[in-house]
């Protein structure tokens, strides 16, 4: 055999990177980019057509770098392919209006959902695809490998080591994808210090740090003021606890961010305690540090919480409860969005969230016509990972067949009131997502959670145990029986409901020994933010906008 030695380089990426680094040598001090030089440096480091990951995280935003990127000269830097988990700041789309970027792949664009829809329609932005978080992170290592990563950290030392602390979120994932494929990693930091509390990302993964003119933006997205929890939400929470958590023995779980699930968190120390469920359900969580979880933690319900990100005001509380949360040697929280999403997908018994629209078979969506909003974490965690092998009581409990190869199922629960408002039924024949697919020219309709994954639907009328049937007709009947006076609900008749109840396919509150009259706010372990602060012994420091005293 003759091996022909080809004259090719096997390190073109590295050579390219070195060339780019050499171009900015005169502007930087070692690994530090002077704050006022950032635009000049970006113009040299980023080349037309580059794939650029900009950390527009769910919470933490690389706001200094995104503002700088809008200012680069479109003559020099253009046709960028942006990859962003969350498109939430105006300048994220200004980059497209200025002609700097052309294409985008993303997960969530809620705060810019009308603008992005307009820009797709006007041909000013090419939408690659809408992804779940894990999908997008996965593609960073497959076919969306970045040339440049622009990320945010709290602190750096002079070697470029980063401290991302409670708001680590997706930073390590993005940095890893760029750093180990000879991409360029630039981190904005709130401050450069001599000694870091701990190293979350080693300096050898980072090419440059730049001190931001102001701290990165962070929004308290997961704080729900218990004052806004309604009696109906409390009724639904009681049904979930009795008819799902207790019934199936749910020990590990993720909660959505709605008031429905905040109500469940606040009922554990009261209603859950009365039922004697402590230690039997809700022990291991994948969840942001929700302030409404404080009473359950304080009363010993919670064994562990792994977090996607942090939550403003919860820093000291988390630090003081390190038996519960994942914390570093320095004491502060370590979050990780990628790993938390994976944990929420594969390792928990249950995902529960609310929806704005559901069709008669259980497909659900939160999109609005004319808007392109993408997804949050729901589609990741709100599906049954078919590859799962390990068994837990709740997972095993979903098994409905005697087949020798039968397996269990992740519990995916959708909670909704039958009407969004007086005239907008949640239950519809056809999801708005189908129109959005056409309007935005998407390959598939942006369905949040697919019917085949939904095991339970909960309304103020009752629970439909969808996992118990494979028949589409029966699913429709079950959902109709809890759909109230929506058009779908009107299909239902009393006799059929009676039969569904007798066969255990649906349950009304009375079937679960829940008296509707008992569902009221007096059951909440904390009725307002102030009471959450009291439960925390003053450790929880809510942002000003949540203070009412």
């Amino acid at each position: 055999m003759v091996i022909i030695q080809q004259q090719r380089s096997w390190s073109t990426r590295l050579e390219g990177k070195k060339k780019r680094l050499a171009e900015v040598e005169h502007l930087v001090n070692g690994v530090t980019i002077p704050t006022e030089k950032i635009v000049d440096v970006l113009e040299l480091l980023i080349k037309p057509g580059d794939r650029v990951v900009l950390e527009g995280n769910n919470q933490k935003q690389a706001s200094f770098l995104s503002q700088a990127l809008v200012k680069v000269d479109p003559e020099r830097v253009h046709d960028l392919h942006m990859i962003m988990s969350s498109v939430s700041r105006p300048e994220h789309l200004d980059i497209f209006e200025e002609g700097i970027a052309k294409k985008i792949d993303l997960s969530f664009a809620g705060p810019q959902s009308l603008r992005i829809a307009q820009m797709i329609e006007d041909g000013r932005l090419i939408l690659g695809d809408l992804h779940t978080y894990v999908e997008l992170y996965g593609r960073l290592f497959i076919d969306l490998i970045p040339n440049v990563a622009l990320v945010a950290a709290d602190k750096a030392d002079r070697f470029g080591n980063l401290y991302t602390g409670p708001n680590t979120e997706e930073t390590p994932t993005i940095v890893e994808a760029a750093a180990f494929r000879d991409g360029i990693v630039i981190a904005q930091v709130n401050e450069i210090v001599d000694e870091l509390p701990r190293v979350d990302i080693p300096g050898s993964w980072v090419d440059f740090i730049v001190e931001a003119d102001e701290p990165y933006e962070l929004e308290p997205l997961f704080t729900r003021d218990p004052r806004h929890i309604t009696d109906i939400q409390i009724l639904q929470a009681m049904m979930c606890i009795r008819g799902i958590y207790e019934k199936h023995g749910v020990q590990s779980l993720n909660h959505g961010i709605g008031f429905n699930t905040a109500a469940i968190e606040l009922l554990l120390p009261s209603y859950g305690e009365q039922l004697g469920l402590k230690g039997k359900i809700c022990k291991n969580w994948v969840l942001n540090p929700h302030p409404t979880l404080i009473p359950a933690i304080e009363t010993g319900w919670v064994e562990s919480v792994h977090c996607f990100g942090g939550e403003l005001g919860m820093e000291k509380y988390v630090q003081a409860r390190r038996d519960i949360f994942f914390t570093g040697k320095d004491g502060s929280l370590r979050s990780n969005r990628t790993l938390a999403q994976l944990a929420g997908q594969y390792a928990v018994d249950l995902f529960i969230g609310s929806t704005l629209q559901m069709d008669a078979y259980g497909n659900s969506s939160t999109v609005t016509k004319g808007r392109v909003a993408g997804y949050g974490g729901a589609p990741n965690m709100g599906h049954d990972p078919g590859g799962r092998r390990h068994s837990t009581e709740a997972w095993y409990n979903m098994m409905t067949s005697q087949d020798e190869l039968a397996r269990g199922k992740k519990l995916v629960v959708q909670v909704a009131e039958t009407f969004q408002d007086a005239n907008t039924p949640v239950f519809v024949e056809r999801l708005d997502a189908i129109d959005v697919k056409k309007q935005a020219n998407l390959a598939v309709a942006p369905v949040m959670i697919y019917a085949e994954d939904v095991t339970h639907v909960v309304t103020e009328e009752g629970i439909a145990y969808l996992y118990k049937t494979d028949s589409p007709a029966e699913r429709r009947e079950m959902i109709a029986s809890i759909a109230g006076v929506t058009p779908l609900g009107m299909e239902n008749d009393v006799k059929r409901t009676k039969s569904l109840r007798e066969r255990g396919l649906v349950a009304m509150p009375e079937d679960l020994n829940i008296l509707r009259g008992e569902a009221n706010r007096s059951l909440l372990a904390a009725k307002n933010i102030d009471e959450l602060v009291q439960w925390s012994g003053g450790l929880y420091e809510p942002p000003t906008k949540f203070k009412s005293w």
């Binding site: 705060p111 810019q112 959902s113 009308l114 603008r115 408002d421 007086a422 005239n423 907008t424």
Partner: protein, 308 residues
């Protein structure tokens, strides 16, 4: 924090409203300028009696918006964006200096005349509160005929929509929606079915008129009525001014685009506070003010200090 100034359209006027404008030399000068162009005292057009004429409403609303905004500009306030509802868009265009005040006065006079020429007691507008757009469109299509047309026109809020068309057809829709959960459904006291295809002739005539007008680049970007785009090109701005009369005003989308662009302060120019209320409902986390209700000096302070 970015701010947007909003200019109200027909419906916010009331008898004597030009007398109630803030006391400010720039406002007086602007009204004087209008009187000179019109060759009559503009304040006399704003009496309850005279405001029965659409043309007079158009002219006086334009003048009030321009006068108030100019006073703000002269005091050193500066908007990031402007948006006007229907005829309010002309005031926005003048404030942005795309059009001269004089040209705009002629254009809205013409607009008013054309609207009046198509005026017919059998036609008008109505408002429906409490139903989403898609539901109301379906219902409206049931009652629409070529002889007695009815259209969903302005989208002021997700569930505050107007109808334009033949009064009988509109009444049928109103009767129907009353039983379908609308919390309010009533005729408006106008006999001009604006913002629907019935006004296509007005659109054409206005567009022709605008061809001969000299345009400047806008000093501040504007949001279009018909499709809620951020406009920076003079040609697209006048196109929107001409076309919007026969197309729905997508006001909720227009303010949503402002919000998505980072606007957190809305200030409604005189008169009235209709747009302030819509903004307040749509964006509770933003600050919304109206010059008439919150006062000129307070609004000016907030505008200059970006809400503090």
């Amino acid at each position: 924090m970015k701010q947007a100034w909003l200019f109200p359209g027909q419906g916010s006027q009331y008898g004597g409203f030009l007398e109630s404008l803030p006391t400010h030399p720039t406002i007086q000068e602007t009204l004087d300028e209008a009187s000179e162009v019109l060759k009559k005292d503009i304040k006399l057009l704003a009496t309850a009696e005279k405001l029965k004429s659409t043309k007079n409403v158009q002219i006086t609303m334009l003048a009030a918006g321009v006068a108030t905004a100019r006073a703000f500009l002269n005091e050193g306030a500066k908007p990031d964006y402007l948006a006007g509802h229907s005829v309010g868009a002309f005031a926005a265009a003048v404030t942005s200096e795309v059009l001269t005040f004089e040209d705009a006065l002629h254009l809205v006079s013409l607009r008013g005349e054309l609207m009046e020429s198509l005026q017919d007691e059998a036609y008008g507008m109505a408002v429906v509160v409490g139903l989403p757009e898609s539901v109301l469109i379906d219902i409206t299509q049931k009652f629409h005929t070529n002889e007695k047309p009815v259209y969903v026109s302005n989208r002021n809020a997700p569930q505050q929509l107007t109808l334009s068309g033949h009064k009988e057809a509109m009444q049928n829709v109103l009767d129907y929606v009353a039983g379908k959960g609308a919390s309010s459904a009533k005729m408006l006291n106008v006999s001009t079915p604006s913002h629907c295809p019935l006004f296509l002739p007005v659109q054409d005539r206005l567009a022709k008129e605008m061809e001969s007008i000299t345009l400047q680049r806008p000093k501040f970007p504007l949001i279009s009525n018909r499709n809620a785009r951020v406009l920076r090109q003079p040609s697209r701005i006048v196109q929107d001014l001409a076309e919007s009369i026969a197309l729905p005003v997508r006001w909720h989308d227009a303010t949503s685009i402002l919000f998505e662009n980072g606007v957190r302060q809305f200030i409604e120019m005189s008169p009235g506070d209709v747009l302030k209320k819509l903004a307040k409902n749509a964006f509770p986390e933003a600050d919304s003010y109206s010059v008439e209700k919150n006062g000129f000096n307070d609004c000016l302070y907030l505008a200059k200090n970006e809400g503090v």
